[in-house]
């Protein structure tokens, strides 16, 4: 069963990589079509709903319709992503069966599940029309790299848990943490893409030279829609993360005799939480909207990565399990 899980993960990575190529091909054909149809680029318009003091109600115009043209390459890529998702799900499930517990016991398993959540989030958002599938290549690339790293560097053989992890709170605490992490990672990617796109728009309007990586902006959905997508994902993940921290506190209270003790993992979860809280406030504060807020979202995602990987590998603390 453990072997099956490993093979399935490998297959999922391959299918995701193919999907990524498909998305990239879709971008290329779409761009070609767009260039033929409409060479001029519009700066993303936005309109003001009202502004009698307080945070002005600037509402990004619902994007210059995330071009709903359906190229065959894009549909194929989306299908491949869905197929990869199924295989990925299979890998996580068989891993759980092999270990006879929920597959969240070490860094390898956590990473695989977090990536599954990220892909699930992406597929759901595309299906509900909240995210343009043109984002696919940019989402699949980090997913493939992430899973590749998880499968090689972090790989751990199936084994039972250390006693402290043997609690039903693991199901609650880690389920929430893995869900929030997956979503936060997705939002981090989208926020980065927003930064690229908004820089691209700015340079286009100013007529200045556009070099890599800003030139990637041409293939991206409108800045306003990226900003919205990042917000939607974070607004979903933030309460989940909050709950994960609280559940962790309840668990810590049962396992270690205190609900909070500034263990390195707790400290970094706190930093991540504060940064995302900062993002949510920044997005509603004049002078912080847009790019500054997006940088906060990126910084928060970095804190999350430190929280999980750097703390586990380099810092000694109570959470050093893997």
């Amino acid at each position: 069963m453990a072997h099956l899980s490993d093979s399935l993960l490998f297959a999922a990575v391959v299918v995701y990589a193919l999907a990524m190529l498909g998305f990239a091909g879709d971008q290329a054909t779409r761009r070609a079509r767009r260039v033929l149809a409409e060479p001029a680029l519009r700066a993303a318009p936005s309109r003001v709903l009202a502004g009698a003091g307080g945070p002005p109600l600037t509402e990004p115009a619902v994007s210059p319709a995330p071009s709903r043209e359906k190229g065959w390459a894009g549909s194929l890529a989306l299908g491949l992503t869905a197929l990869g998702w199924l295989i990925h799900l299979g890998s996580v499930v068989t891993r759980g069966i092999a270990a006879d517990r929920l597959p969240w016991g070490n860094m390898y398993e956590f990473s695989c599940t977090a990536a599954l959540v990220a892909v699930t989030g992406f597929l759901v958002l595309v299906a509900r029309g909240k995210v343009d599938r043109g984002l696919g290549a940019f989402v699949m690339l980090p997913v493939v790299l992430y899973l590749g790293l998880a499968g090689t560097v972090l790989y751990t053989k199936v084994g039972p848990l250390v006693p402290a992890l043997n609690s039903y709170w693991i199901k609650i605490h880690v389920a929430a943490a893995v869900t929030a992490s997956g979503a936060f990672l997705l939002s981090g990617v989208i926020a980065l893409l927003y930064l690229v796109r908004s820089r691209f728009d700015e340079r286009t309007v100013a007529g200045s030279a556009i070099r890599f990586p800003v030139s990637l902006g041409r293939a991206l959905p409108a800045a306003a829609s990226l900003d919205r997508s990042a917000y939607v994902v974070i607004a979903f993940a933030f309460p989940v993360w909050t709950f994960a921290i609280i559940a962790g506190g309840i668990w810590a209270e049962a396992a270690w005799g205190r609900y909070w003790g500034w263990d390195p993992k707790e400290t970094w979860s706190f930093i991540t939480w504060v940064l995302y809280a900062g993002y949510l406030h920044a997005r509603a504060t004049a002078g912080w909207k847009g790019r500054k807020a997006a940088w906060v979202a990126v910084a928060a995602a970095v804190a999350l990565i430190i929280d999980y990987y750097v703390v586990n590998i380099f810092v000694v603390g109570l959470h050093s399990y893997a």
């Binding site: 009698a52 307080g54 109600l57 509402e59 979903f236 506190g249 504060v274």
Partner: protein, 532 residues
């Protein structure tokens, strides 16, 4: 970007967020104070404090912290003799107790409170007040529609009010329009969230002031009574009084750890018998990881464990001078443990031993070095070096039971180490002997009382509830206006105008608006001529 003057009024403000600081007209003396207060309570300052808080916590996430692991702080100081004193001066080894960290979070909470109080007042008023008057031109709102009907103005407004009310909107007639609003819970949730944060801080403070934490090592077959003096290590809160300790006591009957082939621990299990007070009968309980013992306000946790070999030391004349289990402190994951045996009551010189206990013993045949290959006691051995002389414990100077003061001790047998398997003895040169009888275990327990815990848990529930409400509920307003049209002859004609506004998620609101206007059109049917 242009602002539409018609809708630029109070009606379309969907938030009770504070308005930006305006020009000050207060008296000269209070002006600077007021300015400081407004600045502190502004969102921008709160944001900066929030980021400062995150930034300040970073050293606590990377540097060893005294509250967690003082040993590692000392190691770090030894490794970085130049840098460490500076870090220490900045309290970077005690970040979360540092004055500057407290300054940041206290300022943040003051800023929060300063922002919250007026918002609570505003929201309470908004909850009582009817939704605001319709703005001038409804068709300029983000979503709008209009149609003509044969119904009178009165009929239109009444029908609209009823339809909205049944959709759980708060709807009132205001002049020639119905004003409706929904989603007040968004702001309610927002306020619950922020108030809960303050309550959480209170809970933490109560725990820090009135709480207690103590750890104690208990050997198998011995007991512990909950009193401050009996602990090895205590962390009482500043306002903690001994009288609030729960009068529990317990005996450790058996401690058992199980391990996998790889030497990783599987289970820890401490079988105790406990009583909540001196008069109560003893009851059995298994204290395990994740399974503490609750007695009243106190909880007893299993923290750690180790081996306590039973050692018998005989005097020169063969009488037993020492017969005890000696707790040894584990040094690594295979439980190579250091033991100190002090035998003060002898006929001649006092005797002492420095020992190393190894649960699964392997001796390198070449070097004679003894190590352990597994944490379970599969082939336990005690390797000892003996000393004779003065232990220095009669001088009245307190010394640790875990270290030997070797200043007035001379090694026996030139300090040669002797390996004893279970049951083996070493006949000391010059008389006397030491016997490793068998192996018992010890466990460390932590007794905790945190009276702020319940408050913190309640606050946490408030935080999650408030967050969900404030992030997932959308606040939106809707107006229906009826304007008489036509020349006043024949059947009355009325123009129905509908407009709506949502601050968040306009896509979803647009769909909701479509559905709502559809329902309104059923109640207020358009004129035959207008029907497509």
């Amino acid at each position: 970007m242009t602002t539409t003057p018609e809708i630029d009024d109070a009606a379309v403000r969907l938030s009770t967020a504070p308005e930006p600081v305006g020009p000050l007209r207060s008296r000269q003396l209070l002006a600077p104070l007021r300015r400081t207060w407004r600045q502190l309570t502004s969102m921008r300052t709160a944001l900066q404090l929030l980021f400062l808080l995150a930034l300040g916590a970073i050293p606590g996430g990377f540097l060893p912290q005294r509250s967690l692991n003082p040993v590692r702080v000392n190691e770090y100081k030894a490794q970085h003799p130049g840098l460490a004193p500076w870090l220490d001066r900045l309290s970077l080894f005690d970040v979360f107790a540092a004055p500057w960290f407290a300054a940041v979070y206290l300022l943040l909470f003051v800023s929060l409170a300063g922002c919250l109080v007026p918002r609570i007042r505003l929201h309470a008023r908004a909850l009582r007040k009817p939704p605001p008057q319709a703005p001038g031109t409804l068709t300029r709102l983000p979503v709008s529609g209009s149609w003509e009907t044969d119904a009178s103005v009165e009929e239109v407004l009444e029908a609209a009010r009823r339809a909205l009310r049944s959709g759980r909107w708060r709807a009132v007639r205001r002049g020639n329009a119905v004003s409706a609003e929904k989603g007040y819970l968004r702001e309610t949730g927002n306020l619950i969230f922020h108030v809960s944060l303050v309550v959480l801080l209170v809970g933490i403070a109560v725990g820090a002031f009135y709480g207690f934490k103590g750890t104690v090592l208990v050997k198998e077959g011995t007991g512990f009574a909950n009193a401050v003096l009996n602990f090895d290590d205590i962390h009482p809160g500043r306002r903690f009084t001994e009288g609030s300790l729960v009068p529990l006591h317990f005996t450790l009957d058996d401690f058992r750890a199980t391990y996998g082939e790889d030497g990783k621990a599987r289970t820890f299990d401490a079988k105790v018998r406990f009583a909540p007070n001196a008069d109560a009968p003893l009851r059995p309980y298994d204290i395990r990881v994740n399974h503490p013992l609750h007695v009243g306000a106190a909880k007893v946790y299993l923290l750690g464990h180790g081996y306590a070999p039973r050692v018998v030391v005989r005097d020169v004349d063969g009488t037993v001078a020492f017969d005890q289990t000696v707790p040894c402190l584990p040094q690594d994951t295979k439980f190579v443990s250091n033991c100190t045996i002090k035998v003060p009551d002898t006929r001649g010189q006092q005797i002492a031993f420095d020992g190393v206990f190894t649960p699964t013993t392997v001796q390198d045949p070449a070097t004679g070095r003894v190590t352990s290959t597994h944490p379970a006691a599969q082939s336990p051995a005690l390797t000892v070096v003996g000393f004779r002389g003065d232990l220095g414990i009669d001088a009245g100077v307190p010394g640790s039971v875990y270290t030997l003061d070797r200043r007035r001790l001379t090694p026996i047998d030139s300090g040669k180490a002797h390996l004893l398997a279970t049951g083996q003895s070493w006949q000391l040169p010059g008389g006397g002997s030491i016997t490793f009888v068998d192996t018992t275990e010890w466990a460390t327990f932590q007794v905790t009382q945190d009276p702020g815990k319940g408050i913190a848990l309640l606050a946490s529930c408030g935080i999650v509830l408030g967050l969900c409400l404030s992030l997932f509920i959308r606040r939106r307003r809707l107006w229906v206006r009826a304007v008489p049209a036509g020349d006043g002859t024949g059947t009355p004609r009325t123009v129905v105008e509908v407009g709506g506004l949502a601050r968040t998620d306009p896509d979803t609101f647009a769909a909701e608006f479509e559905e709502l206007t559809g329902r309104l059109r059923e109640k207020i049917p358009p004129r035959e001529a207008d029907k497509e």
